[in-house]
């Protein structure tokens, strides 16, 4: 391995590779920050560019775009509360309050550092223990995926709202609209009103952009303020986290990186689930859980470390088994095969120099976006001083372009406006829109995997409790549902007796 690494190092450390790495990272940042341009689309659009390149150069480009686009979403999530992708929804919870307190620069510093650590830890895992991790990934079958989806849903409801009941209402509403679309088991079209644009269900990205970006634009436009941050807030220019910040958040960053890597190796799970689980764990481990959602840097660190840790994790099954962990790595595999590189055990033996170049370039991509992020954060932060009369229309236009560009379908723009208005009303009445988006992602997964499991088990629920892994997840779910309930009951008892 080390001799291959040495060869790969010699290749990566050339001015030419660095230029590609820099361009890929910069492009990824922009793609991640813009609403609607997802990592998947960024990597897919770059693939034709790699046709004329050396496979190693091509992979450096794809790796750089992947890593930095996941990070890029955090910048707008923190500064404007408009996450570019679903990976950064949980980042808005504490990131945007920090911006409103004049700590936008610091929040970006924390998110950059956390993303960097998450990316590096997962890449180390990819480098050292990929075959072992791949074996774990294969242990997950339909019943386990069903339970993972339920676990995700149970967490999201408790995490994203101040009120348990409001979270539940948003989540159930999300599950309800997640039933729209073709039933993939029977082919029956559900609630599509004879519109083929709904046959695949409610598309996630227009819903996400509507609920977060457009609703934010509406809110900014309606408010009387001339800036999204109150005038009397003083700005701190410091971006690099202080030692005190680091000593407060490093445990969270490492824990979240491990969670992100593990979620990343499971085909079908994704960046948003990883960041929500990590956020929840960070809050549970914290001595002051009430401060989450009000600008706690640990919240930003948890979400961002986890979603970037998914990058390395998701490449584990992709490279070792040829099974993509998510949509981005599916495109990645397409990019590999075009160059005649077939994912699987051979990739680490026959094409080891190319594979290790890719892994090494992931390390460098993480370093590169860290440097760029820290260096430019000062300028990113200026965006919040933009007058609202400019900011609102700009977000609005970008939202329309973003939601149209996903499928080149005007119907999605209509959906965007519907969800935009819904998101605005929800926030006014203290409902979080986050559970809707996550239910749209997890609802279909839960439904399909449950039905698949029941077909496999001939209609019996018993095997769910006989498989050790699924039993373990059931215990996790029960705990995660009971824990917040228990705390709420305890709180109300104290209130009563006090």
């Amino acid at each position: 391995m080390f001799d291959h690494l040495a060869i790969a190092l010699g290749y990566v450390l050339t001015p030419h590779s660095f230029l590609v790495l820099f361009l890929g990272t910069a492009a990824g940042l922009v793609i991640g920050a813009l609403p609607g341009l997802s990592s998947t689309m960024g990597v897919a659009l770059a693939i034709p560019l790699t046709f004329g390149m050396d496979p190693k150069t091509g992979l450096i480009l794809l790796g750089a775009i992947y890593c930095s686009s996941v990070y890029g979403g955090s910048i707008t999530a923190i500064l404007l509360r408009t996450p570019g992708t679903d990976a950064s929804i949980a980042t808005t919870f504490d990131g945007f309050p920090m911006t409103q307190q004049g700590l936008g620069g610091k929040a970006i510093g924390i998110s950059t550092t956390a993303s960097f650590i998450g990316g590096i830890i997962s890449t180390v895992a990819l480098l050292l223990i990929a075959p072992l991790l791949a074996k774990i990934a294969l242990k997950f079958g339909p019943p386990e995926y069903f339970l993972v989806a339920i676990f995700g849903l149970s967490i999201i409801i408790s995490v994203s709202s101040n009120s348990y009941l409001n979270g539940l209402i948003s989540g159930v509403f999300g599950l309800l609209i997640a039933t729209v679309g073709m039933d993939s088991f029977t082919g029956y079209p559900r609630f599509i009103f004879n519109s083929d644009s709904l046959l695949d269900g409610i598309p996630i990205l227009p819903a996400l952009i509507g609920l977060f970006s457009l609703s934010q634009a509406i809110k900014i436009a309606i408010s009387q303020e001339s800036s999204i941050v109150k005038k009397d807030v003083s700005f701190s220019d410091r971006v690099l986290p202080t030692l005190a910040d680091m000593s407060r958040t490093w445990v969270t960053m490492i824990r979240s990186s491990v969670i992100g890597t593990i979620v990343g190796i499971m085909p079908g799970a994704g960046t948003s689930i990883a960041s929500f689980i990590s956020y929840n764990e960070a809050r549970r481990a914290s001595k002051e859980p009430e401060s989450f959602g009000k600008g706690n840097p640990e919240g930003v660190a948890a979400s961002e470390a986890a979603n970037n840790a998914v990058t390395g994790g998701s490449l584990v099954p992709a490279l070792t088994l040829g099974i993509p962990g998510n949509a981005v790595t599916a495109v990645f595999i397409g990019g590999l095969t075009i160059h005649g590189l077939i994912p699987g055990p051979n990739l680490f033996i026959k094409y080891a120099d190319i594979t290790y170049t890719l892994i090494l370039s992931l390390f460098l991509a993480n370093i590169m976006f860290f440097v760029i992020g820290i260096a430019f954060a000062k300028y990113f932060v200026k965006v919040i001083k933009t007058p609202t009369r400019i900011l609102a229309p700009v977000i609005c236009v970008l939202s329309v372009i973003g939601s149209f560009a996903i499928r080149n379908n005007l119907f999605d723009v209509g959906l965007l406006f519907g969800f935009g208005i819904l998101g605005y009303l929800m926030e006014r009445y203290d409902f979080s829109p986050a559970p809707i988006v996550l239910a749209l992602i997890l609802g279909p997964m839960a439904e399909a995997e449950l039905r698949r499991s029941l077909i496999l088990f001939h209609g019996s629920f018993v095997p769910f409790f006989q498989r050790p892994l699924s039993l373990a997840i059931i215990v996790l779910i029960v705990l995660s549902v009971l824990f917040p309930l228990y705390k709420e009951i305890k709180k109300s008892r104290i209130r009563k007796s006090g």
Partner: protein, 326 residues
């Protein structure tokens, strides 16, 4: 990248720009501007890859860029509809996939707004036969092993497919009927999760297309049992075909190019000739081979005949036994 290659690339880019600039001045000649190529599936998938590679060759052949636009979703309906209803000026063509392009209007006549006769066929390029495979450590070494076990345990052996009414599923139905067995068909959303479930031992077998699993069979991660085609596939030449084993199970998915039906004959002729030339270009063939895409070239009317045959075949099946219950 070497200096010569860099020079080559710069020259190529300059030529493309030049071609763009010149293109507009030769009005009357087709194509005189960029041609849009609609792909009904997401970027990065095998249809998209085929489109992008072919676009490169069409551009070299006809001197105009062919721009891939992905209109994915609804099992291809969105893209197929966009192609069928596109302007007929010759500047929108696209890829159609058999069986979805044929089956969707049959099974969902109210929702799907195109019919197979709305397309003018250009050329079919790839036909990817179906295959039944099992995990590397499965007890089934041959198709007969699987049949024997299925006879002992009816309905117990699970086999994945990509959704009811898809090619994989119809292949399983035909196999069950001919072998006199019942399997437990489990629909999966896409090949990747099904492969993971097969390798993890969560399901017993998988119905899929050869190109999706050829590499994994070659590297010993999966074991192929039989190919649903009349001739053996070069990617997995050791594997018997169903006809060799005494069955008539034949099932494949095809990808080709088509235009909206009212496009001018002369323009269609230009595209058919260009595709015929490309399909004989050894570098193009080598690229397809690298992607495990078996060439199956049918141009113009031949392709049109094939599409209508497929339409009749699926219509017959659907009317005899509809697989979507209302």
């Amino acid at each position: 990248m070497s200096r010569t290659r860099k020079f080559c690339m710069i020259t190529m880019m300059a030529l493309v720009c030049l071609a763009l600039a010149l293109g507009t001045s030769f009005a009357g000649e087709y194509p005189s501007k960029a041609v849009t190529m609609v792909v009904a599936y997401a970027p990065g998938g095998s249809t998209d890859t085929l489109a992008r590679i072919t676009a490169k060759y069409l551009e070299a052949e006809l001197g105009q860029p062919f721009v891939v636009v992905n209109k994915d979703g609804s099992g291809g309906d969105i893209g197929f509809t966009a192609l069928a209803k596109a302007k007929t000026d010759g500047y929108t063509i696209g890829l159609i996939n058999v069986s979805p392009v044929v089956v969707n209007p049959i099974t969902r006549p109210k929702v799907v707004r195109y019919r197979i006769t709305d397309f003018a066929p250009i050329a079919n390029v790839v036909t990817d036969p179906g295959i039944i495979c099992v995990g590397a450590d499965s007890p089934y070494k041959t198709l007969q092993d699987l049949i024997d076990d299925a006879k002992k345990n009816p309905g117990k052996i699970s086999i994945s497919h990509e959704g009811k009414g898809g090619g994989d599923h119809l292949g399983i139905l035909a196999f069950e009927k001919e072998a006199g067995i019942t399997l437990n068909g489990v629909p999966f959303d896409g090949d990747a999760p099904a492969k993971a479930a097969l390798m993890g031992g969560h399901i017993d077998a998988m119905a899929v297309n050869v190109s999706e699993v050829a590499d994994m069979i070659q590297s010993g991660q999966l074991r192929g049992l039989a190919v649903e085609n009349s001739k053996r596939s070069p990617e997995v030449a050791d594997l018997p075909t169903f006809p060799e084993l005494g069955f008539t199970v034949l099932q494949a998915s095809s990808r080709g190019f088509a235009a909206p039906k009212d496009m001018a004959k002369e323009q269609l002729e230009v595209l058919i000739n260009a595709m015929t030339k490309i399909a004989n270009d050894p570098t193009y063939l080598a690229e397809l081979k690298k992607l495990n895409m078996p060439l199956d070239f049918m141009a113009g009317d031949d392709y049109g005949k094939f599409l209508l045959e497929q339409h009749e075949f699926w219509k017959g099946l659907w009317e005899a036994d509809p697989w979507i219950k209302k």
